[in-house]
């Protein structure tokens, strides 16, 4: 084996190493991007799903298919605080009032996910078991306003004062490459349930 052969081998090894390194970097970057892009897509879908459910439910506060059965909308909100609300509505249009409660669970419930901040957002219909799915919710915070548009400071001792709600929702990806979690924020600046203002 001559000197030139050794040089060829060494040169090949260097070039091969460079190629291998590029391939590995490419693989790593591709994996990271795929992970993050897919995560962001899921995140966005989760956000849209949660927002649509919340909007759909909250707009029905105080609604009853038979309005004679629930004529006084001031009784619609049962209790409300920063991260929890319970209200009355006729969710299945059967003219019987149902109660719906939203609340955020503790982070300790989702220790199995890599994201340390995600929580379960629960929806409780009447006395049924709380229902939820891990959609990566990390913040569910509400601010309440009275009839003159002034902020009601918690604790809300008299929920009948509430006429509109600001809803803040943050959703993060439940898992991320290198713990670089993506997040999305949604705010409904003033959600007004029209039935609260009927009469």
């Amino acid at each position: 084996m001559g000197f030139s052969t050794i040089l060829d081998v060494i040169g090949s090894m260097i070039i091969g190493g460079i190629l291998l390194s590029i391939t590995m970097r490419l693989n790593d970057a591709a994996t990271a991007k795929t992970y993050n892009y897919s995560g962001e897509l899921s995140l966005q879908e989760n956000m849209a799903t949660v927002a649509q459910i919340i909007e759909d439910d909250f707009r029905k506060i105080g609604y009853c298919a038979d309005w004679n059965k629930f004529p006084d909308p001031t009784k619609a909100v049962v209790f409300a605080n920063e991260s929890s609300i319970k209200y009355l509505t006729d969710i299945d249009y059967d003219s019987n009032m149902d109660s719906i409660r939203y609340y955020l669970g503790p982070t300790s419930e989702l220790l199995s996910t890599p994201n340390p901040r995600d929580r379960m957002l629960y929806r409780v219909l009447n006395n049924e078991a709380p229902k939820s799915a891990n959609l990566g919710v990390t913040q569910f915070r509400m601010v309440y306003f009275d009839a003159l548009g002034d902020t009601l400071l918690p604790p809300i001792l008299n929920p009948a004062l509430i006429t509109s709600v600001e809803i803040n929702l943050t959703v993060e990806s439940v898992a991320a490459y290198d713990t670089a979690y993506s997040s999305a924020f949604w705010r409904q600046i003033r959600l007004v349930a029209r039935n609260l203002k009927n009469r």
């Binding site: 897919s38 966005q44 879908e45 029905k60 004679n68 004529p71 004062l161 039935n195 009927n198 009469r199």
Partner: protein, 408 residues
């Protein structure tokens, strides 16, 4: 050999990049799809709400409007509105507004019912000068005034409050802001009709009961019976009300009406005036109450409307010296509800009202010194929640509709 290898390497990388870019492209497309779906749904919903508001406004402007709208372009989309009378007897109407945008459709359904003045716990055209609603005042049902709402030390309004004019604070918003538990709207114009009591005569002529040609009519409800006379010294005569007034309207034309008793059933009493001084006035000579108090008997059907063309006064007499109990909705078209000789009569206890007061001009029921009664009455007004969904027969209406249910 090396050329082939290079080609393979290049092709391999190309393949990898192709797969990756397709994957990223798919993700981007789905992200945009998701965004567009949410956006289209939101805009369709907003269009539907706008359509419902446009139709509602049309109904408020013209209560007979029932044309609806078809395929009206709006905000890059379109809307349709249909109007249906879902209960012809009660004249309950429903509009169904559909918003369309980018292939998405959203629907809003709104129900309307004729609006009656009897729903108000308190209504006034004029607040009688500069009377302030104070922290001692609580209004338990819907409130409206065509005047300013003058607030001092946080008065409480449990029902929806509306005013034509603005809010005035005694010192500052912080010190005086009212608590509106049913919401508040300013700029609502809801005038009192000027001939609603006169129109009651035709209802009395048609299956009701009418008294006419007398200066004064004394009426005493006694369950199913109505006792009446025309002079204080006369004995009462008796009528069986379900037979004499099957439609529930009792009308006293151009006279003074003196009223008391226990009401069983649903009746409205109207008292008119043809420009004669003092006529069209109702005096409450003693308690006028329901046979079954709905606070004790929730299934009670007893309802009473007390409608005077001028004013309703609590008589200054011995039975009214220690409290008066009034069950019913009081309507004073040109005057107000007050106590006779409010500033000279003795301390008379409480006015225990279950119902509402609809009046042209706020009147006094007593005078106060250092927070305690000096003459007349203290107010203990409770709202009859049944008035949100029911009203005494032929009680004056506002002439329009109100939204009773909104589904989106």
């Amino acid at each position: 050999m090396s050329g082939k290898a290079s080609l393979l390497v290049v092709m391999g990388f190309n393949l990898i990049f192709l797969v990756l870019s397709k994957n990223f492209g798919d993700v981007s497309s789905r992200t945009v799809d998701n965004y567009v779906n949410y956006y289209q749904g939101t805009v369709a919903h907003d269009i539907a709400i706008s359509a419902a508001n446009i139709a509602a406004n049309q109904i408020f402007l013209d209560p007979t409007w029932d044309d609806g709208y078809s395929d009206i372009p709006f905000q890059g989309g379109s809307y349709d509105v249909q109007l249906a009378v879902i209960d012809p007897y009660k004249n309950i109407r429903e509009i169904t507004a559909e918003g369309n945008f980018g292939g998405k459709t959203s629907t809003v359904k709104v129900k309307f019912a004729p609006s009656k003045f009897s729903k108000f716990a308190y209504y006034s055209v004029s607040e009688g000068g500069t009377i302030w609603w104070t922290g001692n005042d609580t209004v338990w049902g819907p409130f409206h005034t065509q005047d300013y709402l003058r607030a001092a030390y946080h008065p409480v309004f449990y029902g929806k409050a509306t005013t034509k004019k603005s809010l005035i604070y005694y010192t500052s918003q912080k010190a005086d802001k009212p608590y509106f538990l049913g919401g508040y709207e300013q700029g609502v114009n809801l005038p009192l009709p000027s001939d609603a009591v006169d129109k009651m005569e035709s209802f009395a002529d048609d299956d009701g009961l009418k008294f006419s040609g007398k200066d004064t009519v004394y009426l005493m409800f006694a369950g199913d019976s109505l006792k009446y006379k025309y002079k204080h010294s006369d004995p009462y005569l008796s009528l069986y009300l379900p037979a004499e007034s099957p439609n529930g309207m009792i009308f006293a034309k151009d006279c003074v009406l003196r009223l008391k008793g226990t009401v069983k059933g649903q009746y409205t009493i109207g008292c008119s005036s043809t420009m004669s001084l003092g006529k069209g006035t109702i005096y409450l000579d003693d308690d006028i109450v329901f046979n079954q108090d709905p606070r004790i008997h929730p299934t009670s059907n007893d309802l009473l409307g007390i409608c005077a063309e001028n004013s309703v006064y609590i008589t200054d007499n011995i039975p009214n010296r220690s409290d008066i109990n009034i069950h019913g909705s009081i309507y004073c078209e040109k005057g107000g509800f007050g106590a006779q000789n409010y500033d000279s009569r003795p301390k008379s206890g409480n006015i225990n009202l279950l119902g509402g007061i609809i009046q042209n001009t706020r009147k006094a029921v007593g005078t106060f010194s250092s927070g305690s009664i000096k003459t007349g009455f203290a107010k203990r007004y409770a709202y009859d929640n049944r008035l949100l969904v029911a009203s005494p027969p032929f009680f004056p209406g506002t002439g329009g509709f109100e939204i009773v249910s909104w589904l989106e």
